[in-house]
Structure formats: structure tokens, C-alpha cells
């Protein structure tokens, strides 16, 4: 079955991103397809590559990146939500005259159309919010 996930809450103050991660891992283990993970609103903060996760704690951005590399996942970060939160790729850095981008590898900035597409083509869209 084809799943997409929408994650909305901050990875730093809510469990949503962690719960969604376990859910993604499990559905892939079960042989389902994960069409897209769409990071929206506060959840876009996870794609900042300057995050320094405390030692001995789960490094969620790295965990998502590793899972995405293993399974060629499409991790889409809502561009409007991300840019206003200070998560930008090199293109946006140029456009807004910032010194450099800080988007983590394997995450991609794109528009809400990617969410609409995910809804259109997926059998199930599961929202993780807070």
C-alpha cells in the first residue's frame, strides 16, 4: 500500500517527528511503499543542518537522513514554512542575500503542491501533529 506522511510539529518540543519516524521505518519493514514525507509548519525545523543533537540523545535529523538514503525516500520540506524559520537551501540563501544555506542533505525544499500530489496519489495520508 502507498503511504504518505505529513508531519507538523516541532521536533524539539513534541514527539510527532519521532513517532512518524518509527511509523515510517515500520511501514517500510512491512513491505509498504512510502511515497513522500512532507514536513510542514514547525516540523520543517528538522532540516536545519546546524542542529547539534546532544550526546547520548537520539539524532532525529540523522535518523531521517539515513532512512531516506537506504530507501530513496522523498523528504520534502515546505519551502514557505522553512524559509521563514531560517531553514534555507543555497538558492534561497542567494535570493535572500544570506551567507549560505543550511539545508540538510536528502531533504528538499519545495511547495505545497508536493503535498497535494501526495494526497492525490497515496492510498493513505497520515498526519503527525501536536
Amino acid at each position: 500500500m502507498k503511504f504518505s506522511l505529513v508531519i507538523q510539529a516541532s521536533p524539539f518540543s513534541h514527539q510527532s517527528t519521532a513517532t512518524a519516524f518509527r511509523f515510517a521505518q515500520t511501514l517500510l519493514d512491512e513491505g509498504h511503499e512510502l511515497f513522500r514525507v512532507f514536513f510542514y509548519a514547525e516540523a520543517t525545523l528538522i532540516a536545519n543542518n546546524q542542529i547539534c543533537s546532544p550526546q547520548g540523545e537520539a539524532d532525529l535529523p540523522q535518523q531521517w537522513q539515513t532512512l531516506a538514503e537506504e530507501h530513496q525516500l522523498d523528504l520534502v520540506v515546505c519551502i514557505a514554512a522553512a524559509v521563514k524559520r531560517g531553514v534555507i537551501d543555497d538558492n534561497e540563501a542567494k535570493r535572500y542575500e544570506k551567507a549560505s544555506g543550511n539545508l540538510r542533505e536528502t531533504f528538499e525544499l519545495s511547495g505545497l503542491g508536493q503535498l497535494a500530489e501526495a494526497i492525490a496519489v497515496s492510498d493513505r495520508v497520515i498526519t503527525f501533529g501536536a
Binding site: F3, S16, F23, T26, E30, R124, I126, T127
Partner: protein, 98 residues
């Protein structure tokens, strides 16, 4: 048939009341994250209105994290991460309540 995913504790009264209103025969509910606090035996009354054929689950990892696995109501079944995925695929759609 809908899977209702609840991640707020019983202190979110109005939310839970709304969710319960939205339940239909054959639906299922899974409590996750802080939502699992509603699985406590002490909150059994919360779900007294749901039809017999509405299954009620709580996510194992969240019950264990909070140390309440042994305190949950008989009404509630424990679901592991795999069963959570199975529930999502078995039901036609999901609604997240938060």
C-alpha cells in the same frame, strides 16, 4: 471506516468529546504519545459511549515510556508499531486528533 489517532491526554476534554462524536460503527481509535494517558483504568468512563464494534488501542512504546502499561483499562488493547501500521492500512482513512 476510519482510524482515529488521538495524541492528547484526557485533559483535552473538548477535543476528546469532538472525536467521540465523530466515531461511527466499525471505526477504531488508537491513542498515541500523550494520548495513551486516556488508556488508564481511571479514565474508563471517557470511552463508555463508543459502540461495541469500535476497537480501542494504545501504542505500546508510549505506554511503556510513561510506565502505565500495567494500569490500563480492560477496554483497551495494546498495539505495537507494526499493528499501528496494520490499522492504518486496514481502515479506509485516518483522522489525527490533536
Amino acid at each position: 471506516m476510519t482510524l482515529h489517532i488521538l495524541n492528547k491526554s484526557p485533559s483535552a476534554d473538548a477535543l476528546i468529546k469532538r472525536m467521540l462524536c465523530a466515531i461511527e460503527d466499525g471505526d477504531a481509535i488508537i491513542m498515541i504519545e500523550d494520548g495513551v494517558l486516556g488508556a488508564l483504568d481511571a479514565h474508563q468512563g471517557l470511552f463508555s459511549s463508543i459502540p461495541d464494534n469500535v476497537a480501542l488501542f494504545a501504542l505500546e512504546a508510549d505506554l511503556e515510556a510513561r510506565g502505565i502499561t500495567s494500569r490500563i483499562s480492560e477496554q483497551v488493547s495494546i498495539a505495537d508499531d507494526k499493528q499501528f501500521v496494520v490499522l492504518c492500512s486496514d481502515m479506509d482513512k485516518t483522522v489525527s486528533w490533536y
